[in-house]
Amino acid sequence: MTAIRVGHLYPDYLNIYADRGNIAVLTRRAAWRGHELEVTALGMGDAIAPGEHDLYYVGGGQDREQLLVAEDLVRKADALHEAVDRGAAALAVCGGYQLLGRGYRGFHGEDMPGIGLLPLETVAGERRMIGDVLIECELEPGEKRTLAGFENHAGRTRLDPDAEPLGRVLAGFGNDGESGFEGCRAGRVIGTYLHGPLLPRNAWLADWLLARALAHRLGTNEAPRLEPLPDELERRAHEVSAGRARARGGRFDR
């Protein structure tokens, strides 16, 4: 048994889309494999010690709350960069995803700084992109998997030319409603607009993250194989959510 240490950034501020559901899934799925998951809240003014956490989680918030944390996050930027360079994994959803980029440019100059952990920028758009969404990912060569979720964002996120998207949009808007890409992946760091929450109905991604977190804890490059779980309910929830995206996912040209 190995304890996996999760640093949950700003749980008091960024929790709008049921982010605790993602944490619950990580916790249980680790426990069912005999690993304990220790979740530490990293709030305003708290220092980050690189190496201490195996996985960082940042959720989404309302604009006001996101603005409140943005400046504090910048003060944690160096430590987070170092932590990730040393192999820590990270999952950032929605507002948290935007904050991991280089920044957010608002309509009226209300700019928000980001920490540049992901090679992307976000610009405010006029219409919110709201709806069910389905994407196809290939995080490991040859292993194509889908993620189903719900998106609700005004920001248009543009990836740098050499950046790796998290996935290709099958239905829904994705990063900006036109590029056909969703999210961003840089090594063990994943950012996405998909909430719902993301992990209960996409259990494979929870396991992918847990495996990388374990690799960091054990100091290995190779992520360990996790024992499969009976995921019948997860599979059915995924199917329904994917079906919703195919039937009613958002598109601008409709």
Binding site: D12, D132, F150, P197, L233, A237, V240
Partner: protein, 458 residues
């Protein structure tokens, strides 16, 4: 006075459609005539509204608007002929339908959707507005809470000067809307003994509306509603003109409290459980007072009131009872859970989660509900509705064993399974989201166990 020639024709056409809709079995037709009218001439709504001799009052809130409005109707009915959208059709079209069916009513009493409030305030020019609360709800439909609050602020600033605003001062966002307006009336709860030990997970407006510092709470009652104060002195709960004090919650049956008003105090025994219904009662009392009701009428009306449509309804089914409790967002569902646990924690529960527009297409809110207090006593969850599997996962990852969860997306089969597992003389707790509740009502009506919702009395 110049008559609008088209109005009569439009009304006749719209009324005809409602009758047709019911005849075709398409449902209540509670909004169809209004939709037609809104299509034909939106200005007709203004003119219909102006026909009500004693004016119009509107109630808006994330939670409790149907119950608050129904309570106010119970208080006002002895002295008024009411036009009231009792079946909960609360968009522009639903209010238009209620206006079409107003007959010889003198007072309009309408619950209004949060998003529709600005337009309806402008069209109806109400003489009283009651703002109950703002919770996180259906972000996919309404957008963020701050945005709704901002639109409400604007709407209230365009309200005629002689109109009365009554607002829940326990909600910091609403206090910020209500305080600046002359003659506005603050209501709230004042009994720290029934407060929650801490802010709930889903608490929304917990940062000072002026400076962003987290509020200090002397008492938190429901979600972020309570007695708050900015530690830096920028904002605090305003003094309450009407308040519920000395509150006693009596399981699944009653809530008793003292209603303090400028006219005096009364002991009120509500035939409804839960702190959230005490909020609804004080809101209804404050609104009724703004419309001229006497305290005696208010007390009598509140004590007569039993339940609004689908909110805490009990239905007899062959020696067993079904208890229907609507759930639709974290704050409301938390109160339902708390009320159940304070009563007799159920061993079996049927929960039906749908994701139509009226339910919210984004079902993430179920993960923000504190269902956990139900788990220790729970032996079986029947998960139903279009998103049954997601709901099952919520409980699975909350700690319920997989073999205690039964997945039955079909509503009729889930209800039958629940009844089958309920002992004779027992009560089956069913927690549906909005469209699931409508589906259950339809089902019960088709079995002759309940009246269809469009025939329920006001």
């Amino acid at each position: 006075m110049r008559l609008h020639p088209p109005l009569g024709l439009e009304i006749a056409a719209a009324r005809g459609v409602a009758a047709l809709s019911r005849r075709l079995g398409a449902g209540g037709g509670t909004t169809i005539p209004g939709k037609l009218l809104a299509e034909l001439d939106r200005g007709a709504i203004d003119r219909l509204a102006a026909r009500l001799a004693t004016g119009i009052a509107v109630v808006s809130a994330t939670n409790g608007k149907t119950t608050t409005t129904a309570m106010a109707a119970e208080i006002l009915r002895p002295r008024h002929r009411l036009a009231h959208n009792a079946a909960g059709a609360n968009l522009v079209s639903g209010v238009a339908s209620a206006l079409l069916g107003a007959g010889d009513a003198d007072l309009g009493l309408f619950e209004v959707d949060e998003g529709a409030l600005p337009e309806l305030v402008e069209r109806l020019r109400p003489r009283a507005v009651c703002l109950g609360n703002l919770f996180r709800d259906q972000l996919d439909r309404y957008g963020e809470l701050e945005l709704v609050a901002e639109r409400w602020r604007e709407a209230m600033s365009s309200l005629p000067a002689e109109s009365r605003l009554v607002y829940n001062a326990d909600d910091p966002q609403l206090a910020a809307v209500g305080e600046p307006r002359t003659g506005s009336v603050a209501f709230g709860l004042d009994d720290p003994r029934v407060a929650r030990p801490a802010l709930q997970h889903a608490a929304d407006s917990k940062y000072c509306v002026r400076c962003g510092t987290p509020y200090d709470y002397a008492a938190a009652y429901v979600g972020h509603l309570g007695d708050y104060r900015c530690p830096r002195g920028h904002h605090a709960r305003p003094p309450l003109e009407l308040a519920a004090r000395d509150i006693s919650l009596q399981g699944l049956e009653h809530a008793v409290f003292r209603l303090d008003t400028p006219e005096g105090s009364r002991r009120i025994e509500l035939r409804l459980p839960g702190l959230y219904n005490v909020y609804n009662a004080v809101a209804a009392a404050a609104l009724a007072r703004a419309l001229g009701a006497k305290l005696d009428d208010t007390a009598a009306g509140l004590e007569r009131f039993s339940a609004a449509f689908g909110r805490f309804e009990r239905v007899e089914v062959g020696g067993k009872r079904i208890l229907l409790l609507l759930i639709k967002n974290p704050a409301g569902a938390n109160e339902v859970v708390r009320t159940l646990v304070d009563g007799a924690p159920p061993r079996l529960v049927v929960i039906a989660l749908n994701d139509e527009i009226a339910d919210g297409r984004d079902v993430s809110w179920i993960w923000d509900v504190d269902f956990e207090p139900l788990l220790p006593g729970l032996e079986t969850l029947v998960a139903s509705g279009g998103r049954a599997a997601e709901l099952a996962l919520r409980f699975r990852y909350g700690g319920l064993d997989g073999d205690e969860i039964e997945l039955e997306p079909d509503l009729a089969r889930a209800l039958d399974r629940g009844l089958e597992l309920t002992p004779d003389g027992g009560e089956l707790v069913v927690l549906p989201t909005y469209t699931a509740m409508l589906g259950l009502q339809r089902l019960l009506a088709s079995r002759g166990l309940a009246k269809p919702y469009w025939e329920q009395s006001e």
